[in-house]
Symmetry: C2
């Protein structure tokens, strides 16, 4: 069923206005809008029909209308004007991103903070790898008589290390042998296959350096497991409380608690595998706690088999246009930043957008 142009226009106005004011909007308010050339009575009729179509709702008789979940859906999918960032905003965002982002988790924190600032809502950022990581190469550095630094290069191109204290002294020669052994036996093996069996096999050939093996294996397995898991960061939680719909402390607490818990872990599942922005409107939502609450998430690739998502959590009436615009811009900038080889730190080329 297709809506008339006028109905669409009215619906759009209702949503826009509701987004701004957070209060039910009446026919008069719509009629007063600058580019609305009908009287409030006409609008009323249209609104009545939109209501019976399930796109608007009335909190009670004689209150204005509020968009229903279906109404938001339609708005997001069809009616929303895709709001470009102004030049200023784009500039300030990209200069913020430019800073060197060292490690993944630091990066996530930073990004979450930026997104939160840009949207004035709580923001989530997460990154995960698809596929199993394996160790690709081991190096052992002798850091003293009784300490060794283990450096492991992973298939994901990430490098991890750990300083080990030993109860016994080891020689350079020991380490050389051990490193060769590790590279021969423990590379290319997914986390799941680090079993007691493998341990025994490796230790048997390890000679004097045998006591080191279990520790290194533990560390490796742990690291690989961690690689598979999802990192995430949240910022700007307090912003939620500034919004009128969360003046109800109970509601706010539910949402905030769902951050603490692992409830958000399965966001990636909900998002599916395609990149792009998804809007989860109110009841369609992931966690039960998040009625009245929408989640907007953008998924994108950051190279090297990693996927990242950024998103915000806010009231269902949040300004979707603004939020999605900002998220897409962030996503784009970030994936550019990451696909670029880290090394030649070229001054960011002209990637600005028109206003």
């Amino acid at each position: 069923m297709e809506l008339s142009e006028r109905k669409k226009k009215v619906l759009r106005c209702v949503v826009d206005l509701y987004i701004r004011t957070a209060e039910p909007v009446g026919s008069k308010a719509i009629a007063a809008l600058p580019d609305m050339s009908y009287s409030s009575a006409t609008i009323r009729n249209e609104m009545a029909e939109l209501t019976s179509l399930g796109l608007l709702e009335q909190p009670h008789t004689s209150a204005g209308r509020v968009p229903s979940a279906a109404g938001y859906r339609l708005y997001v999918d069809e009616l929303m004007e895709d709001q470009r960032l102004s030049l200023d905003e784009a500039r300030s965002i990209s200069s913020a991103i430019d800073e060197k982002l060292q490690r993944v988790d630091r990066m996530l924190e930073k990004v979450a903070k930026l997104v939160s600032q840009a949207t004035e809502l709580p923001a989530i950022s997460l990154a995960s790898r698809q596929g199993q990581a394996t160790a690709q190469r081991f190096d052992l550095i002798r850091a003293g008589d009784q300490s060794v630094i283990v450096v492991i290069m992973l298939s994901t191109e990430e490098v991890v290390n750990k300083l080990l204290r030993l109860p016994v002294a080891v020689t350079e020669a020991d380490l050389k042998v051990l490193a060769a052994l590790l590279n021969a036996t423990m590379t290319g093996i997914p986390a799941g296959d680090f079993t007691g069996q493998l341990l025994e096999k490796v230790m048997a050939s390890a000679g004097t350096a045998a006591p080191l093996v279990p520790v290194i294996m533990d560390f490796t397995a742990e690291t690989l497991r961690r690689q598979g898991s999802t990192n995430m960061a949240i910022a700007g939680q307090a912003k939620l409380l500034g919004l009128p719909e969360y003046r109800d402390v109970d509601k706010a607490q539910k949402v905030l608690s769902s951050f603490d818990e692992e409830a958000l872990r399965d966001l990636p599942a909900v998002m599916g595998s395609e990149s792009g922005t998804k809007v989860l409107v109110g009841p369609e939502n992931v966690a039960q706690e998040l009625k009245d609450t929408s989640v907007v998430m953008t998924k994108f690739d950051i190279g090297e088999g990693m996927q990242a998502m950024i998103g915000v959590v806010g009231p269902t009436r949040m300004d979707y246009a603004k939020v999605t615009a900002r998220l897409s811009y962030f996503a784009e900038s970030l994936s550019k930043l990451f696909s670029k080889p880290e090394q030649p730190q070229l001054p960011e080329a002209k990637t600005r957008q028109e206003e």
Copy 2:
């Protein structure tokens, strides 16, 4: 001026009760307490005097009494019964800590979460080093024709690494020379001294590997700077909203915002340098936002020149005895865990306490 025993007892009861109920306590409630052998009228007299001494306050005539900041102070300093952990609690806490805590920031997150769970309040954990870190040793590992892994061992005994992509190919020999050069010139130097001058000097001697030098120096300086800074983690923010005093959204928001901002950065300064537990009661507090709010922080050493702090933020009427007991226990367990060499992962010896 010294209070009579009875006054002390009354004061303690008022605070205890207020902690539990979050409501002004009346004379009758105190008199009804099991080990209170006076009538409500007597208690009333005592309370009136305590009020005129500034230790209690009345929200208004004909409401019960509430401890004043000074009252809390006295309570914390003298009256509080130091509440030992029950055996069960101690056991559950130490088993939680036992898990391997890999990196500092992971560790902080985990600890904050645990503390928050144990106290049912928002918790903060932070760690910082005192003194300047320097690089102690450089190793370069060739990871392919055009990539190198830089491994830096710091004076703090932490090891960091970074994978570098190069625009040019390098040989093992190049790297060996460069590593020697780095170890000769860039070790033992604090972050502040990584100047353009040093860069030029090192590059002059670097030969074919010269292009690598600036990147490594950048990374080193950045790392050292980060070492000096304080890491921190916060958990359980949503718990704040469960407390009656923060049903006032504005108040809650102020406190939660102060987490987001860097307001807490100067907590270390306020804490001074001695180890131990400090209670910052309401108005004595750090940030202006935190009126009505107290902060309990415990500072302790975790070896290798690192100091850590754990603490909670909550209403001034929080259960100080419980909170400090738990914090001290955490602090003790953690500093034990860290002072122990990581390697020989002995089954935790008997460090339980009596009930």
